[in-house]
């Protein structure tokens, strides 16, 4: 038996692995850089759907989430009809062989990690909690899609419109009231929409930060001038019973106007401007 000195000890083996991985990563980076903007983009989140539809080059976006076809929450229903839908499932999305998947930070971590393991690039965009964060999101999607110019234009338009709309006083008090007495306090997009339209948010008065529930009793005691209810879904639910509870009806009956918080309130996109504009009209009219 002839003894040969081992060429590969454990340490050299590890070293080789590292260099191999490094090489692969470099190649991928180089490839991505060379390939330019992604050609097959799949969005699996309602909000990235909308930004992608606004910014993508023709043919670049190949699928949007099925939620974009839901009239209750989608503000771009018409455009969304032009895209095939996906249900955000890993296997289904992989079948579309995308070179970029747009997802939200609350997208199932299993789906995201599965797709990443399969070598698909997944970009997760954060939830937008303020009007100020909307431009960042637009620019980020623009960068991911290689549509920076369009994104900058969209941001400029958005900021100009917002400045024009923004009310400087907030003398009337409004309450957001969704199913299960859910409402939004400070540091939420809905709160900023209210404030921008010239309303004070009673949930913020009650000390609520972010989204949460506020007992109906407390909401009634706060006596808002305007109740903005969540939009009822089809079918029945006990959770939505609170929306037309007699106490809430009585609050609404004090003023002729009331509003629905609908699809325009959901995502941090320029669509919130329409929500602000409609509220501002109520404010002036009320």
């Amino acid at each position: 038996m002839k003894l040969t000195a081992p060429l590969t000890g454990p340490s050299t083996l590890a070293l080789r692995r590292v260099s191999k991985a490094l090489g692969a990563a470099l190649a991928l980076w180089a490839g991505a850089a060379l390939a330019g903007p992604p050609e097959r983009v799949v969005s699996i989140n309602l909000c990235t759907d909308q930004l992608a539809m606004m910014l993508a080059a023709p043919g670049q976006l190949i699928s949007v989430s099925h939620i974009s076809h839901d009239p209750n929450v989608s503000v771009m229903l018409e455009q969304a009809q032009n895209y095939p839908v996906n249900y955000g499932q890993g296997e289904e999305v992989f079948q579309l062989s995308p070179d970029l998947v747009l997802a939200g930070t609350f997208t199932s971590s299993y789906t995201v990690s599965l797709l990443r393991r399969l070598g698909v690039e997944v970009a997760q965009l954060p939830i937008v909690n303020s009007l100020d964060a909307i431009p960042d999101n637009i620019l980020e999607v623009g960068r991911l899609l290689g549509r920076e110019v369009e994104a900058i234009a969209l941001v400029a338009q958005f900021e100009a419109d917002l400045t024009a709309l923004r009310a400087d006083s907030s003398d009337m008090r409004a309450a957001l009231h969704y199913a299960n007495n859910y409402t939004s306090g400070e540091r939420s997009l809905a709160h900023e929409i209210l404030t921008a339209a010239g309303f004070a948010n009673v949930a913020a008065e009650a000390g609520l930060v972010g989204g949460g529930t506020l007992a109906m009793e407390r909401l009634v005691m706060l006596m808002p001038d305007l109740v903005i209810s969540g939009q009822p879904y089809p079918g029945a639910s006990r959770s939505e019973d609170v929306l037309h509870h007699p106490a809430m009806d009585a609050l609404r009956a004090r003023h002729a106007a009331h509003a629905l918080a609908d699809a325009e309130w959901v995502c941090g996109t320029p669509a919130v401007l329409r929500a602000i504009a409609r509220l501002a009209m109520l404010h002036e009219g009320g």
């Binding site: 199913a179 299960n180 007495n181 529930t213 007992a215 109906m216 009793e217 407390r218 009634v220 005691m221 706060l222 006596m223 879904y233 089809p234 079918g235 029945a236 639910s237 006990r238 959770s239 939505e240 019973d241 609170v242 509870h245 007699p246 106490a247 009585a250 609050l251 004090r254």
Partner: protein, 329 residues
């Protein structure tokens, strides 16, 4: 039950009703609360008292009385202390009926469709249980039939709620299985009270027949009890009460088990005396539970059935054990 005990019970009911009206997140002082409730002087306070707290307190009394009396009647008829509307699937089937009425849109089309559908579900369950458990509800058949009916009703309720186009529906399975009185309104009082009242009248009128049944069906029949009519009264009375209670509050278990069990020795175990006593006791228990869920977790909708099960399930186990010791299982 002696006058003293009735006095204590009624005083407890009144005291707890007042407590139920005074407790809530709005932070009203008792004086404000009473003044708003009676005089209706300040708008916000009046809305809180008359539209939110008052229906909640009334419903706690109605639902509790329905479940307590329903339990005592089922037990009187089957001569088995384990017969409880929740455990034997009557509440679960009522919930299924209510969910069907809501999801098919019948409840939206007509306000009485909800309690009627729940009543129909409850009737079906009582009939199945009576058919399976036989005239003298043996414990094993009763429990097994109850498990089967509850499981099926629960599964179908979940199915209907999962099929609903409404995204909130599926998360309400726990409401229908555990029950809650949060944010109910006077509408719910109006649609449940007539059914609960009618059911109570039917069942209370059968008191002496339940007494006679203590000696068995044969002896009762020989003492002039019309067994067929008694069965019909039981089915309609229990279904009407439990159905209406479940339609507005979900399925709250164990009330009909705990209350008659505690009160039976106090009324000398006579079924006819146990019926009204259990109605009172049930109202007291549900009021207590509904105050407790608001004190324990004021900001969340803790389900009533959670508390009643925590109290009731160990008692249920104890009763099963005792029944086995007596060689009846």
């Amino acid at each position: 039950m002696s006058r003293v005990l009735w006095g204590v019970g009624v005083a407890g009911l009144v005291g707890l009703s007042v407590a139920s009206l005074l407790i809530g997140p709005a932070g009203l002082t008792p004086l404000q609360a009473v003044s708003a409730l009676i005089r209706g002087d300040a708008l916000a306070e009046t809305l809180v008292m008359r539209e939110i707290r008052l229906p909640r307190a009334i419903l706690a009394v109605l639902v509790g009385a329905a479940l307590g009396l329903g339990g005592a009647a089922m037990q009187g008829y089957l001569r088995n202390p384990l017969a409880e509307p929740g455990l034997i699937g009557v509440s679960g089937s009522a919930a299924l009926g209510a969910v069907l009425a809501l999801q098919t849109g019948l409840a939206a089309a007509h306000v009485l469709a909800l309690p009627f559908a729940a009543l129909a579900g409850a009737v079906l369950a009582v009939l199945i249980i009576l058919a399976l458990a036989g005239p003298r509800g043996g414990s094993i058949t009763l429990i097994l039939a109850g498990i089967a009916v509850s499981a099926l009703a629960g599964a179908l309720t979940s199915l209907v709620l999962n099929l609903s186009p409404n995204p909130f529906a599926a998360s309400e399975i726990v409401f229908w299985m555990m029950g809650s009185l949060q944010d109910r309104s006077m509408i719910h009082v109006w649609i449940s009270a007539p059914f609960i009242g009618l059911g109570a009248l039917i069942l209370l009128s059968q008191g002496r027949n339940f007494d006679a049944l203590t000696l068995g069906e044969d002896a009762a029949a020989s003492m002039g009890v019309h067994l067929g009519r008694l069965r019909l009264a039981l089915v309609l009375g229990v279904a009407s009460m439990v159905g209406a209670a479940t339609a507005v509050a979900g399925a709250i278990g164990f009330v009909g088990l705990v209350v008659p069990h505690i009160l039976r020795p106090l009324v000398g175990a006579r079924p006819s005396a146990l019926l009204p006593a259990s109605a009172l006791g049930g109202a007291v228990l549900v009021l207590m539970a509904d105050i407790a869920v608001r004190v324990i977790l004021p900001t969340r909708d803790l389900k009533l059935g959670v508390l009643t099960a925590i109290v009731g399930a160990p008692l249920f186990l104890h009763l099963i054990y005792k029944t086995r010791l007596q060689g009846q299982l």
